[in-house]
Amino acid sequence: MSIDTGVASERFEAALADLDVPVTYAEPTAFDRTLRSIARDPAIGTPLPFESVSLPEWVDEDPTPTSLESAKTGITAASMAIADYGSVVLPATDEGAEQVSLFPDLHVAVVRLADIVPNMQTAIDRLGPHLRDGGSAIVATGPSATADMGALVQGAHGPKEVHVVVLRGTESETAGETDE
């Protein structure tokens, strides 16, 4: 949807609503409390690359195959969000962000408000250098799903639910909201 109406964050929210994906805004000071209200134990996560926040101590930040199998919630950072589609961009990391976002039933993606870009082309343009540098990423939109068994079911192999946390009050908040 490239009909650009409203700021990127509002369109992102609307697209997530269409996907039935809840979104919660959080100030850095209230981040722990927000996560607590969303996550189900046991929760695992990978370190957040943001200056203003880090994962609370009740989140296992050092997941193993065992904790991956038993975790109910996986918390990872998204490097971007795409307003038109309600997508989050999940980079692969050597700490296992890809697995943490994929195995548990609930995936909580944390994205900075400033990193919401308006459309697909902008997102892909930004990913170009990252991929050319050897990086990988998943553009994830809603939970995993299948219709192969005769009706739409969520959680085919990946998460059954996704929750997006938008982090406010961080640096260069408006950068992502302008069209390129």
Partner: protein
């Protein structure tokens, strides 16, 4: 084709209609509806398609250099690239990788390219356990069945069938029943199988030359697990999947889900630059933290040629390589919607574009099997996100199949009747339908005797046996007095000197010899709008032979049509066509058959009759002489497949509405008759099944009392058979003189 072959084919289609038809219909119609809704939200849909096509054109043009670039990029990342000549070569390499890893199990995510290779069988012969992790593919693997759709391989299976299958095969404690239960059962079981797999195999929807990345379009998450859990990843892809840069991916991401399943985007677009940084998920070392691992992942990109380089050199089939395997052509295809991929498939690929793929990778025989199921309706051309002219590919392959010939046993029967340019061995049925113009000329000249002869029992059964014309179809009756003769005797009623515009009304074969009334109506409508009308004798457009794959005959016709019309076009006269499939020839196919300049000149001056009426009314012509909806009937309107592809249906709608008719319109892709298709013995049931979707719409309470109006000849015939009430052309509705006939 012999009568027995024809019966066997009819029987197979009947069987598929009964067993798989309902599930396929429900699913493809859902996908197709989703596509319409989803692309309607795209403000720049056409621009995206143009961009996507340009990227593929460029990529295929530069393919050899892009292959080198991919190789360099992947190797720089630490992966390996193997360029396989054919399936055997690719399989040998993949087996070596599995053997070096001492792999007991390979987990695979869905990949049509790997189906093309039959790599599962090759690995299984070595004792490797190959597990399909896409839920649909897994169902087929458990059922020992083959995919019937490019994107949704098990589309032909109902939930009840899958439940029966799982309950029999796995004997779960509690019998599985709901889609949720079946999905969770599969998730758990496959999760265990993935956990101790040694190699993960995926396809690749796209490969970027600049970064050596692969893009995977999925929703389930199984491709992510297959790629990331084991330490070795093998991706197989046709060489045509390469695009120059990461930035080129954007339009395809926006188009692929919308075009295929009608989703704005699928759940996961994986952009992997393997070997990836993600740690291996090693369940033998379950308590070592991911962050503490130092994995040395292996990645093998196996690029397959398997006929693609030759396809690239083939000027007619080259466009096949632009295909992004989205399945829009299958979902939009009326025949596919009824009968699905098992009737519509070759060795691997199925649906509209499959003819190109099968001809390219498996050869003509594999394509021949289902080539005739393309009726050339052209609805896939509009659906295709890279604008591939799929009907043309089908026509070219059909022509080449014709040229392979058969024994030509009954040649003597039609020798005098069929002055065409085709080889002697051409199938008799195709030859007969391809030469409909000759038949019509003869039938008209000998009418009514010819009509009587054609209708008597022994003749009908002979026609059914020798050329496969289904006995259940009513045959069109030829008129003794053709439209051209009628007009020559009558003369124009608006003198050229008094008219602002001069028109050559194209006397298509059907209007001229069979439905002369609609031709007369068109003359009267045009004249009532102040137009000077001429009807010279012009040959058939070539549509009939083209639809049988008789390209040389069609080419010859195109030249003769142009010769007959050139002077009129030069004199500034407009060419107006009544039959949409003939106008589609002028506007589309003639590009392939005429010199560019001739094609352009004719295209620019030719119009659909209702489009022309619309233009006249818009430009101030006085429409009071036309019959209006005040006292006229309520209308149930069915446009025509090729007319819709050309975007011309809207003019008919606009004219009828401007003249205050109450109109409802069908939204099926095609009526199923499609020229000669519905007359053919082997396709009669399929044609009627397709037609049922249209019949349903026109028997709804809202529609069933309405006058049925259809733009195309074959649509009119089909509606007549389906509804037991006659249909008329929209121009007849406007004709003041046909008022009594229509009421």
């Amino acid at each position: 084709m012999s009568s027995a072959d024809r019966e066997a084919k009819a029987e197979r289609i009947r069987h598929l209609l009964e067993t798989e038809g309902d599930a396929v219909e429900a699913n493809t119609l859902g996908f197709n509806r989703g596509r319409y809704e989803s692309v309607a939200e795209l403000e720049d849909y056409e621009a995206l398609k143009t961009e996507a096509r340009a990227i593929k054109e460029d990529a295929i043009e530069r393919l050899p250099e892009l292959i080198d670039e991919v190789r360099a990029a992947v190797e720089e990342n630490g992966g390996t690239v193997y360029l396989a000549d054919d399936a055997a070569d690719a399989n040998r390499y993949i087996r070596e990788v599995a053997s070096e890893k001492s792999a007991d199990r390979v987990v695979k995510s869905k990949s049509m390219t790997s189906e093309e290779l039959e790599v599962n069988e090759a690995l299984e012969r070595d004792g490797v356990d190959v597990v399909e992790t896409d839920l649909g593919e897994w169902v087929l693997q458990v059922a020992d069945d083959a995919p019937s759709h490019i994107v949704a391989p098990a589309i032909h299976k109902s939930r009840e069938e899958i439940a029966r299958l799982f309950n029999t095969q796995f004997d779960p404690e509690e019998p599985l029943e709901t889609a949720e239960e079946l999905t969770m059962f599969a998730r758990e079981r496959l999760g265990e199988l993935i956990a101790d797999a040694d190699v993960g195999m995926t396809g690749a929807n796209f490969i970027t030359a600049d970064s050596g990345s692969i893009m995977l379009v999925t929703s389930e998450g199984n491709a992510r697990k297959s790629a990331v859990v084991p330490d070795t990843h093998v991706a197989v892809a046709g060489v045509e999947k390469i695009v120059p840069s990461v930035e080129d991916l954007a339009p395809f991401i926006e188009l692929i889900g919308r075009s295929g399943t009608g989703q704005d985007i699928t759940s996961y677009i994986s952009l992997l630059t393997p070997p990836v940084d993600s740690p291996v998920v090693d369940f033998d070392d379950p308590d070592v933290a991911f962050a503490d691992r130092d994995d040395d992942r292996e990645f093998h990109l196996v690029l397959i040629d398997n006929g693609r380089t030759a396809l690239r050199e083939d000027e007619h089939l080259r466009e096949t390589l632009y295909c992004i395997r989205c399945s829009a052509c299958a979902n939009t295809c009326a025949n596919f919607q009824s009968v699905g991929g098992h009737a519509f498939g070759g060795e691997t690929y199925t649906g509209g574009i499959a003819t190109g793929w099968e001809a390219g990778v498996h050869g003509q025989d594999s394509a021949a099997e289902f080539n005739d199921l393309c009726t050339g309706c052209s609805r896939c051309v509009e659906a295709c996100p890279v604008k591939i002219d799929i009907p043309w590919i089908n026509t070219v392959v059909r022509d080449r199949i014709n040229r392979e010939g058969d024994d030509g046993r009954f040649e003597f029967l039609v020798e005098g009747l069929t002055p065409d340019e085709e080889p002697a061995g051409l199938d008799l049925q195709k030859r007969l339908f391809g030469n409909y113009e000759t038949l019509a000329k003869l039938g008209s000249a000998t009418a009514p005797l010819s009509n009587w002869t054609a209708s008597v029992g022994p003749v009908r059964s002979l026609m059914e046996r020798l050329v496969g014309i289904d006995g259940r179809r009513e045959l069109p009756e030829f008129e003794r007095r053709t439209l051209v003769d009628w007009f020559e005797a009558r003369g124009p009623r608006v003198p050229a000197g008094d008219a602002d515009r001069e028109v050559v009304l194209y006397p298509d074969v059907y209007t001229n010899y069979v439905d002369v009334e609609r031709g007369k109506a068109a003359v009267r409508v045009l004249e009532s709008l102040g137009v000077h009308v001429r009807i010279p004798s012009v040959p058939g457009s070539g549509r009939a032979p083209l639809s049988q794959g008789m390209i040389e005959t069609a080419d010859e016709k195109a030249s003769r049509v142009y010769a007959a019309l050139a002077e009129h076009v030069d004199a500034g006269r407009d060419v107006v066509a009544i039959e949409p499939s003939d106008l589609a020839m002028f506007r589309s196919e003639y590009e392939k058959l005429l010199p560019e300049q001739s094609y352009e000149r004719l295209r620019e001056r030719s119009y659909d009759v209702l489009e022309y009426v619309y233009g006249l009314l818009e430009n101030g012509a006085d429409g009071t002489g036309l019959r209006t909806g005040d006292g006229g009937p309520e209308i149930a309107y069915h446009s025509h497949c090729q007319q819709r592809t050309l975007g011309l249906d809207r003019y008919t709608r606009a004219v009828l509405e401007e003249l205050e008719y109450d109109v409802i319109e069908s939204d099926v892709e095609c009526c199923g008759m499609a020229g000669s298709f519905g007359y053919k013995r082997e396709y009669y049931e399929l044609s009627m099944d397709v037609g049922d979707r249209l019949a349903e719409q026109f028997t709804e309470p809202e529609a069933r009392e309405r006058l049925v109006v259809a733009s195309g000849t074959s649509c009119e015939e089909q509606l007549g058979d389906l509804l037991a009430r006659d249909a008329v052309h929209p121009v007849e509705v406007l004709d003041p003189q046909s008022r009594s006939r229509l009421e």
